[in-house]
Symmetry: C2
Subunit: 391 residues, 2 copies
């Protein structure tokens, strides 16, 4: 196991009606003037924003509203938020929404207290300081409610990049599984896929003898396999929603990723898809993962066989471990299709003729020198073949 | 899943030579005058205390030393520590040792800033305020390095009681698996048993449909089953030590225990044994757990069958689930014996004729009204039978 530091000082308030505690939590974590940042109309229509406002009002905490965060959140709104926070002397950002809203909030939080262009953080600079952020989560997916990460899409060129730093870990996150019951099945399934991808990206490691984190990742994948179909069959199944919501946080706060190298090639390869086509990140991952895994499988057949046996219940073929490894990848693909995810470029709305554009953005964007690295280092030819496998 | 709040703001510094960062961590978390609290001579002889002192000196942080913590730490030394901290205006407690040292440090931290008798906290009063505590862990066992809990033994009557509160969660914990390599095999095995007990106490729940935490607990148990024999066979196996150390923390910081009722009857029944005979807590648990589980098995046969199949690899007997349930308990018992733990009163040094005394202390001590409650509520007759099963 490699040396590491793990620090996850987010306070999670979990359960029915948990959003009624938002005001008290903002007070506890030192907020005196709040920006409520949110997405489209659903948070308004459902009454959630009203309940959040009431909770802040009950504590006598003033607030402003900034809505309009899109899926694959854009840098334009971040700049707008930063200006608003500076002008209005906001000292706490409250994200009410999913991963996009939280990521946009984190970017605003870091940018407000930074002299330069906030995009510096999305070009490799580590975030050391930020306004405190709290969240009220409305979809189990991105894990941003418990992570030090944020991903933003830049409009000039439509590319997605990530930033990181303990300063943007939420001070608190309110997780009420009932809030996710109104999600359309496709969004629920895309969230499930994103969570599973966060687990696979950590599972694919070159570190040896990391049994404790292997087992934890497998445990969370098994949870998704058990609860995913239950929640697709019955969107109002609170218990299944609750299990998925906690698994989604645990999958990405990195307690199961410490001390081991991680992959993230599937995420990088997918980011170009959702940036170019504005598709759901989880849907893009459903198409990307099986292709990437099949392409890199030979790098460590036994690792894929392990996932196949322990997670997917495949029988081990001791004479031909690669058969088992492949069966595990097929089981993943079939599971994702079964919950309603796309299986190829056509279903995703992607086009074969764009592959050179995707590869260029992926391997040459933002100062990259022709490769992406993770479990396996992939060059432009590798990435081209992987995208072609998705067609 | 039940509503919960989970807040674990401990910074974990994990890996080889991690203790060299102690000074910087004390500085980061605001300590300006430190009490180094430790146990017997091994931390001195090994040079660990010297390395910790050097790290504090490098940061220019003054410190005092208070050694002598015994296993099953005593209230007498806590009173002494509290007086020392008040007189010397200590503002940070650094525990260098195992669970006993950490628990004693937590008691001192809470007692120093409290007007009354610190034992109030061990009689039911919640700890709301305490000096900050940091730890340098030397045995993977108690999980106190990441928990809000402390257990102290009172000399007048020799009984053990626990206290709890977020204020005594360590601000940081330094986890260097190499520090545990010099432990005698018996202590290593007792630590493994304690970790497994922390998992079983959470597994035995009356909450329904808590798959995510079930799976996480199973994952950590599977890790212990894999790594336990490896570390007993080769005490210098750093990788096995590392996996056990992280599992030990995860087993007890409660991320796998949230949203579900828990048991803790085995711990309560054992506490009277280690209080009366001063035996190792883990060794007491090895004798206690199989007896308790066999006694309460009928309360939820399927839960024990689940552990048997998922954790111990037993075949499910679908016609007779109780056969599978029992096989899982036997597998646990045999595993604990295989790593060198005692299996009965005689091996533990306990006496049958003391059972009335044990039951009296257990069911009537500290204001209890004749029962203890957890997975199943147990009265004096139940507890008598359970102790008799251990003979």
């Amino acid at each position: 196991m490699e040396n590491f530091v793990f620090y996850s000082p987010t306070c999670f308030v979990f359960g029915k009606d948990a959003e009624s505690q938002v005001g008290a939590m903002v007070r506890r974590f030192g907020g005196s003037k709040v920006l409520i940042h949110y997405g489209g109309g659903s948070a308004l229509r459902s009454g959630l924003i009203d309940r959040v406002k009431a909770s802040l009002e009950a504590e006598g905490i003033p607030f402003l509203l900034l809505g309009g965060v899109q899926p694959n959140p854009r840098s334009g709104l971040v700049y707008e938020g930063i200006e608003l926070c500076r002008n209005e002397k906001i000292d706490f950002i409250l994200a009410v929404g999913g991963g996009s809203v939280i990521d946009s909030s984190k970017a605003i939080a870091a940018g407000t207290v930074y002299d330069g262009d906030f995009w510096d953080f999305y070009s490799g600079k580590r975030i050391e300081e930020a306004l405190p952020v709290g969240t009220v989560l409305t979809i189990a997916a991105a894990g941003s409610e418990g992570s030090p990460d944020s991903v933003i899409t830049r409009e000039d060129g439509m590319f997605k990049r990530g930033a990181s730093g303990d300063a943007i870990r939420p001070r608190f996150s309110v997780l009420n599984p009932a809030l996710t019951q109104t999600l359309p099945p496709f969004q629920t399934a895309a969230g499930i896929t994103d969570i599973m991808a966060h687990l696979y990206e950590r599972y694919l490691t070159n570190s040896k003898e990391v049994e404790v984190t292997d087992r934890m990742i497998e445990a969370l994948l098994l949870t998704m396999i058990h609860e995913g179909p239950r929640v697709i069959a019955d969107p109002n199944n609170y218990e299944a929603r609750a299990n998925i919501m906690w698994a989604g946080m645990m999958a990405h706060n990195n307690s199961c990723g410490v001390g081991r190298s991680q992959d993230w090639n599937s995420h990088n390869i997918e980011h170009e898809l959702s940036a170019l086509y504005d598709c759901a990140h989880g849907a893009g991952l459903a198409v990307t993962m099986p292709a990437v895994f099949t392409y890199v499988m030979q790098h460590d057949v036994m690792r894929f066989a392990k996932a196949a046996v322990r997670v997917w219940g495949c029988q081990m073929d001791f004479d031909h471990p690669e058969v088992t490894a492949r069966a595990g990848i097929e089981a993943l693909r079939n599971f994702l299709i079964s919950i309603g995810m796309p299986k190829n470029f056509a279903e995703l709305g992607a086009k074969k003729e764009d592959i050179p554009t995707l590869v260029q953005a992926l391997c040459r964007g933002d100062g990259r020198m022709g490769t992406i690295s993770g479990f396996v280092t992939l060059n432009e030819e590798d990435c081209t073949k992987i995208y072609e496998m998705m067609v």
